[in-house]
């Protein structure tokens, strides 16, 4: 469609734009946002996405609690977050408008489907009788509001297809996307290809694909011909390292990482889980990969899932289970079993806002202490946390490597924000990823000692059933060193407790040091972990641009910590720890290193805004 891009209207170049699509949860906003992202990715922009949807699948139509949103920031520069402020919003209905308008920057673009701003719909989302926000000058004067009769225009453009009103109305999101494509000078071909592929599979309704394509084009031509928009915007491609790129979300990256890890370990993988938001996409992804020898099992409950993974590990598979906070709580006792049996187990926890059921579709980082300490007895586990959607790939491989190398459970703390968010990812060269060494002993002349130790890793041997001469029992009762026999001996128990802890600590020897971005020494170190990397890094960069002595460091390994952490912490006057919780990492850092670390905390079901974070650090500096 490039030939259409030259018009009389002026074109403004921008570094980065954050767009939010919002509407009813049945309006197809996730698909629309996803398509905009794909197109921008192929165009060469850097991007980061934030899908935001309710837990209710189809909440009553037109209500505020049924609003589904998708935010994407696309840029010609290197970006790490989906953007604090929305530069352009598309609202398919008044409820979407109402819920999201406060996030739009002053002077930002707001495109609304004015046909939906009816008296009935306005009432449904709680506006007072006789009031329409579109007629409220105090409100509309803050933004550049464009009123487009998308429902009517979609119907008109598809009238001659002879299709029913319901099918036609379902194409409104593509009409909206067409407008936005025109406004931001994006090519249509990737979405057309997608629509043809996706709907083309529906053999019973082949015409659906064509209708959607037609609506998309109609929206685009509306932008071009209707002269509603005085300016078009252009965001040039970003400068990325050469290579083949794809878009990836955190949960997709976990799936690919696990498959790659199984291949690197030359070992089969069993993944057992119970459906839970926001972790279910991991089993959805793996269940499609049976031709990789991946075994997936939807268990009867969370406990069954983790126990199946542990059983599979005993028999020689890589045992993996995935869940979210409430499920991690249910798996507690079984993770303790894996600590005791000393079997490799990976537990993926895609954190969400708690406690209890909490806000299932909203993000949080409040399971750190649960992962670290939430088990009976002295029960240490390795804990890792990916820092971005694409990092979920690398850290999944790391989790498997550490579990196998040290024969112990690894808890992997992802979160809803990076699990569902997406970014561009340069597809790695798998040959650069080292193999994961798996040693299964075979029969020897001496009696087999199931709890003998590798002097380097302190791991016990991973002997698997089916091998003659290595018959042995593992159990959850305390065991005698080396033989593994049941033991209640006080000296032995003390020794074993220390051994299990030392084994986990040994992992520090094979993990990378904590890296610092910014000055080597200075006033403030922002220490983060997990999914807040994007916001903290961006805020740190901004603060340095403002002249402040601020560095950032991000932990991907939480137990054990990278070996150089204490050194790094000692080089800054103030350690500030931003977290989406009430201060969990801070508590550990304070306790372990006797440092009076300062917390920057929020629990709003959302990641940090760079603005907020910057302001709070500035306040700290002034203080």
């Amino acid at each position: 469609m490039k030939e259409h891009s030259v018009t009389d209207r002026s074109v403004e170049d921008l570094d980065a734009v954050a767009i939010r699509f919002c509407g009813d949860s049945g309006d197809g906003m996730q698909l629309t946002g996803g398509q905009f992202t794909s197109t921008s990715a192929i165009f060469g922009n850097d991007f980061a996405t934030f899908p935001d949807f309710p837990a209710e699948i189809r909440a009553p139509k037109g209500t505020t609690y049924g609003v589904s949103g998708y935010q994407v920031q696309f840029a010609s520069t290197d970006i790490h977050t989906p953007g604090d402020r929305v530069n352009a919003m598309v609202a398919m209905n008044p409820a979407g408008f109402k819920v999201n308008i406060d996030d739009v920057e002053l002077g930002g673009i707001v495109i609304v489907n004015e046909d939906e701003f009816t008296e009935v719909n306005l009432k449904k989302c709680g506006y007072p009788q006789g009031y329409s926000p579109l007629e409220d000058e105090q409100l509309t004067s803050k933004y550049r509001v464009f009123r487009v009769g998308m429902s009517r225009l979609t119907r008109e453009s598809l009238a001659e297809t002879g299709m029913g009103a319901k099918d036609i109305d379902r194409c409104r999101n593509m009409y909206a996307l067409g407008i936005v494509y025109w406004l931001f000078d994006r090519p249509l071909d990737a979405t057309i290809r997608y629509l043809q592929d996706y709907y083309g599979k529906r053999k019973d309704r082949p015409e659906i694909a064509a209708m959607n394509v037609r609506a998309l084009k109609a929206g685009y031509y509306f932008g071009e011909t209707a002269e509603v928009f005085p300016v078009r915007y252009r965001v040039a491609p970003a400068r990325h390292e050469p290579g083949t790129y794809r878009r990836i979300s955190g949960n997709e990256a976990v799936v690919l990482g696990l498959v790659a890890a199984a291949q690197k370990a030359d070992t089969q993988l069993t993944y057992a889980s119970y459906p839970i938001t926001p972790a279910s996409d991991i089993i959805h992804g793996l269940a499609r990969l049976k031709h990789f020898g991946i075994k997936t099992l939807q268990a009867e409950d969370e406990i069954a899932a983790v126990c199946k993974a542990i059983g599979a590990a005993f028999a020689g598979d890589i045992g993996v289970t995935g869940t979210s906070g409430p499920g991690l709580a249910l798996k507690t006792e079984a993770i303790g079993m894996a600590v005791m049996l000393e079997l490799p187990l990976v537990v993926i926890n895609v954190q969400r806002a708690g406690p209890s059921t909490g806000m299932p579709t909203k993000t949080e980082q409040a399971d750190l202490l649960q992962a670290m300490f939430g088990r009976p007895g002295e029960s240490p586990c390795i804990v890792v946390a990916p820092r971005s959607p694409s990092d979920c790939f690398h850290m999944a491989i790391e989790a498997v490597r550490l579990a196998i190398t040290h024969m112990c459970p690894v808890i992997y703390l992802s979160d809803g924000y990076i699990a569902n968010g997406a970014e561009p990812w340069r597809i790695p060269d798998l040959d650069t990823i080292p193999p994961i060494r798996v040693k299964h002993p075979t029969a020897s002349d001496t009696p087999f000692q199931p709890y003998a130790r590798d002097p380097e890793t302190l791991a016990r041997p991973w002997a698997i059933p089916g091998v003659p001469g290595l018959e042995h029992r593992v159990g959850t009762l305390e065991k005698q060193e080396e033989t593994g026999n049941v033991s209640y001996d006080p000296e032995n128990h003390e020794k074993m407790a220390h051994l299990r802890a030392a084994k986990v600590n040994r992992a520090a020897g094979s993990i990378p040091p904590l890296e610092v971005r910014g000055p080597e020494t200075g006033d403030i170190l922002l220490l983060g972990w997990g999914g807040t990397y994007g916001a903290i890094t961006t805020a740190g960069d901004r603060l340095r641009e403002m002249g402040h002595s601020v560095a950032t460091a991000h932990l991907r390994y939480l137990n054990p910590f990278p070996p150089n952490i204490e050194q790094v912490l000692g080089r800054y006057k103030t350690i500030a720890i931003p977290e989406i919780n009430l201060g969990q990492l801070r508590q550990i850092i304070r306790a372990r290193y006797l440092i009076d670390a300062v917390g920057i905390n929020q629990v709003r079901g959302k990641s940090f805004r760079v603005d907020d974070l910057t302001e709070r650090v500035e306040a700290l500096i002034k203080h």
Binding site: H291, L297, A299, F314
Partner: protein, 342 residues
């Protein structure tokens, strides 16, 4: 991972080959000893290698079982033995996995897994050592204790109606159901052999005496004097006859069963003929309770027609490989829209 069968012939095992070097620590006189001895005696009769057995248990007195077997074993956590066993079977279907647990383990805290393991028909053998009491925690009532049972936690009598393990198993779609008695070594041994050989979930309810906290709870069925009149030995294709003089039988009366005295015109031809393939009959038999009825002993149901879960999982993998070829990770990473940056 499957175990390749080595070319060497199957070794000849003796019961002591299956005994680990650990001292057995059950209370002297416990019914578990009898079961352990029978299991060790039975395994040498089966065409399986020692290294292919995995004994899995949960928590409880019975759950110490794996420590005493010179096989692979996992003593797991309370209630979860079947989940661990399912994971083992999933990873390596070539293994012979046996689960030994008590009534609290399998029917109370682990009840959920019992139901779901059976409906999936995972190829494992379950030995339920049912003593109708919590022994390890020193004598609280269990899910199979009788209504009104006076224990430390129920001084005025238990208000829970007991659960019927065999009826639950029938309802859960279990494909092999049997009942045995701890001290009946020949009966237990022959059923165990069949249970292990059965492809699918085999469930054996074993009446087991806890001589400390619930002594004699099964004596009506286990003692030689009373046993012929209080139990009925099931044999496929044979009429349901019982009694010291084998002069009583079980007859259908509408949809129910009734005990009849043979003679006076009633012959064996009038009696129910046991059919191990009849799930409805298995349910009806599971409802025969002492003292109204003799309690069925032996195999209630053996249905080899359903494929096992572990087999189906591996079939799907084979099918996926056949359809798509063995997965290539390089392709998988690019199995979406990609773009080049130069």
């Amino acid at each position: 991972m499957t175990t390749a069968q080595p070319p060497t012939p199957l070794p000849t095992y003796k019961p002591k080959d299956f005994a680990s070097d650990q001292d057995v620590r059950w209370c002297p006189g416990c019914g578990d000893y009898a079961v352990l001895a029978t299991v060790r005696k039975t395994l040498p009769k089966l065409a399986r290698r020692k290294e292919d057995y995995v004994f899995v248990s949960g928590i409880g007195c019975a759950a110490r079982f794996p420590y005493y077997m010179e096989t692979y074993g996992v003593h797991s956590i309370h209630g979860r033995a079947l989940s661990v066993a399912t994971g083992i079977k999933l990873a390596n279907p070539a293994l012979e996995v046996c689960v030994v647990c008590g009534d609290g383990d399998l029917l109370s805290i682990g009840g959920n897994h019992t139901i779901h393991t059976m409906r999936r028909n995972v190829d494992i053998t379950i030995l339920l050592l049912n003593n109708r009491i919590y022994g390890l925690t020193k004598g609280q009532y269990s899910p199979t204790s009788e209504f009104g049972k006076v224990t430390k936690s129920t001084p005025m009598g238990s208000l829970d109606f007991p659960l019927n393990p065999l009826a639950v198993a029938v309802g859960s779609g279990c494909t092999f159901l049997a009942r045995c008695i701890d001290v009946d070594a020949p009966g237990l041994g022959s059923v165990l052999q069949r249970a292990i050989e059965h492809k699918g979930t085999s469930f054996m309810e074993i009446y087991q005496d806890c001589n400390i906290f619930n002594h004699e709870t099964w004596f009506y069925a286990s003692q030689k004097g009373s046993r012929p009149d209080t139990t009925i030995q099931l044999e496929h294709g044979k009429p349901l006859v019982f009694g010291t003089d084998r002069d009583k039988g079980i007859r259908r009366s509408d949809c129910r069963l009734e005990v009849v005295q043979l003679g006076n015109g009633i012959t064996e031809d009038d009696l129910v003929v046991h059919d191990e393939t009849d799930r409805t009959l298995a349910f009806v038999l599971s409802q025969m309770h002492h003292p109204e009825f003799p309690e069925p002993i032996g195999v209630l149901l053996a249905d080899p027609s359903r494929p096992t879960y572990d087999q189906l999982v591996h079939d799907q993998i084979a099918e996926a490989v056949k359809k798509n070829g063995t997965g290539s990770i390089e392709d998988l990473l690019r199995d979406t829209e990609t773009w080049e940056v130069t």
